[in-house]
């Protein structure tokens, strides 16, 4: 039921315009992640939806109802805060109940909801404790529980995992995803962590400088970044971006990287509009799409033979960073290869397939 719409939203603080003419639609049951670096306006957007920050101009609707000037409590949503914002003077049970105090529900109903949430989040044994006596992960669960008991259709999460350590973060990520699958409520989730966004979201809005750079499914933003910012923001290591000049030779479209002299055959790239001869572009290549060494068939769109700057092994896979003249090129390699590439004059032959390029205009930095 509750589809959320932001219409021509503007936010100014004094003479600084933080958000300008922002439009966004969140469908019912969606898990939307607002992703972006700090200061991009994502938290402001969330707080405006919650009613904690006033909009300068524009309209916010929830389920078709204009809520722009409504008090936070009348908007029918629940929020989980970055610092959890548990009431320190109340027990866990008190925290869950206190949020319902304003709704004047019958006692039995309150107990039922509290017990339901406590069971769901496995916090029953903690009910009599104060927040100060809980671990970070437990507080997080209580904070989620306090939102759940309100039995609303829209949940807001403001960087809820940023205060947890890496292991707990992974655990809670799964837990929140599971809750979404079970309850099928609309969630708007703010984070600067792309892993959270990629793993949990059904759709992602990537923001920078108060502008939504791209709105789409996780796969979409990963495979088809709409512009240079998104390409560089998503992925670890991020997409390799190299500056190139277009040369049109008959049916073939070649992009030549000046520093290494390598020509990339991007004829098979799905252009929205074809560049002119001599146009400056950026060519993007994901590190994991390279063919390496003996996997190279010779039919690839481009091949490089470059000196290795360094190789590392952060986990099950390894990364190699190659010197292409001006830019570093990151390549995903098998971890077994890392040792061989750590020598002083190691080189690596790599090749890139026809169908995985991203091409951006050098001027507008948008995908073409």
């Amino acid at each position: 039921m509750p589809e959320i719409r932001f219409k021509d939203i503007v936010k100014q603080y004094g003479y600084v315009t933080v958000l300008e003419d922002l439009n966004l639609k969140v469908s019912d049951g969606e898990f939307l992640v607002l992703l972006g670096p700090s200061g991009c306006g994502k938290t402001t957007l969330l707080n405006m939806l919650a009613g904690l920050v006033e909009v300068t101009a524009g309209e916010i609707t929830i389920g078709g109802k204009d809520v722009t000037d409504l008090d936070p409590k009348d908007r029918g949503l629940a929020m989980v805060f970055q610092s959890y914002a548990l009431y320190p003077t109340k027990t866990v049970e008190g925290n869950l109940k206190f949020g319902l105090a304003a709704q004047k529900l019958p006692k039995a109903e309150v107990m039922e909801r509290v017990n339901w949430a406590a069971d769901l989040l496995q916090i029953q044994p903690l009910m009599k404790r104060k927040p100060a006596e809980l671990s970070g992960g437990q507080r997080q669960r209580v904070a989620i529980g306090r939102a759940l008991v309100k039995n609303v259709e829209v949940f807001l999460f403001d960087e809820p995992l940023s205060n947890l350590d890496a292991k707990l973060r992974t655990e809670m990520r799964l837990e929140i995803k599971k809750l979404h699958n079970e309850l099928q409520k609309t969630i708007v989730y703010v984070t600067h962590d792309q892993v959270e966004a990629m793993t949990m979201a059904t759709s992602i809005a990537i923001m920078n400088q108060g502008v939504i750079q791209q709105f789409g499914s996780p796969d979409d933003v990963y495979e088809n970044p709409a512009n240079l910012f998104v390409a560089k923001f998503i992925g670890a290591p991020p997409m390799n971006i190299i500056a190139a000049t277009i040369a049109i030779k008959g049916k073939k479209i070649l992009a030549t990287h000046a520093a290494s002299g390598v020509s990339m055959d991007i004829s098979k790239y799905d252009f929205t509009h074809k560049p002119a001869d001599g146009a400056k572009v950026y060519v993007g290549m994901r590190p994991e799409h390279f063919a390496i060494g003996s996997d190279i068939t010779g039919k690839e769109a481009a091949s490089f033979d470059l000196p290795v700057l360094y190789a590392e092994k952060p986990g099950s896979d390894g990364n190699a960073y190659l010197n292409s003249g001006d830019e570093q090129i990151a390549v995903r390699i098998e971890s077994a290869m890392v040792k061989d590439l750590q020598g002083a004059d190691a080189r690596l032959k790599i090749a890139f397939p026809h169908d995985k390029f991203s091409v951006f205009d050098a001027q507008t930095e948008s995908r073409i």
Binding site: L52, M79, T89, G99
Partner: protein, 298 residues
Amino acid sequence: MAIRYSWMSPRLALIPAMVITAVAFVGAIGWTIYISFTKSRRFPNYDIYWENFWRQYKRLFNDPNWETSINNLIFMTIGSALAILFGFILAVLVNKEKTGEGVFRTIYLYPLAVSFIVAGIVWRWMFNPVLGIENFLIELGFENASFNWLAHKDTAMWGVIIAIVWHGMGFYLALMLAGLKSINDEIWNAAKLDGISPWKFYTEIVIPMLKFTFLTCAILLSLGVVKTYDIVLAMTGGGPGTSSWTPAYFVVNAYATRGNMGYASSAAFMMLLITFAIFLPLVLLTRWQTKRKEREAV
């Protein structure tokens, strides 16, 4: 090696402070207690009065002026607690209504920069029956207005309390404001989203969260009242009669006016005991809080 070089310096640097503590505080306190058992009068006499060891204390507890002082101490503590209450209410309102926060705080706090002597003089002037506020009220048409509080035994202390509240309210406001601001913004936001009424939010969340601030205020206030001297002198001179004496006033009077060192010392020692009695809860609470914090950190 470098660290060893400086083993001595910090300890040497602490010597002046330690000498001062040992002589001017610990030693002087002992000295005062000692004097209270001697035959000292206007000049020190270090012979202990063995024949009547508790002499000064017996006198003290039979002295109606000491009784008045103690009664006034309790009365003033309760009365001046209004300063904490007003301070808290104003802090809540200033914090809520952000407009003009800086200006309001500056105005509420300026009396603290004024000495008690000056404060006392101004308030005495305003309490002046012929030329002060009473006259102003009568001219306004309140024929029965009576603001000549300082001239009557029953009301003189109230007059002093008004001046003390005026003088100290801003201090407690500043402390309370700092306490309110230390509460995480997100808790206020959570309460807004939950639609919790301000009354419920303040009574069930904010005030319990600030209980340590309240206790600190209460103790600082009580300690301030024990030391109250200047403002009483400036406003009432201890009068009418001896009705507005305080323990501090009693000690200075016993020493400077009556010229009895032994007697003044016994009263001073009682002041110290009162101070410790007020102070002990704070010490215990601080200890308890640090322990709890340590536990949380584990």
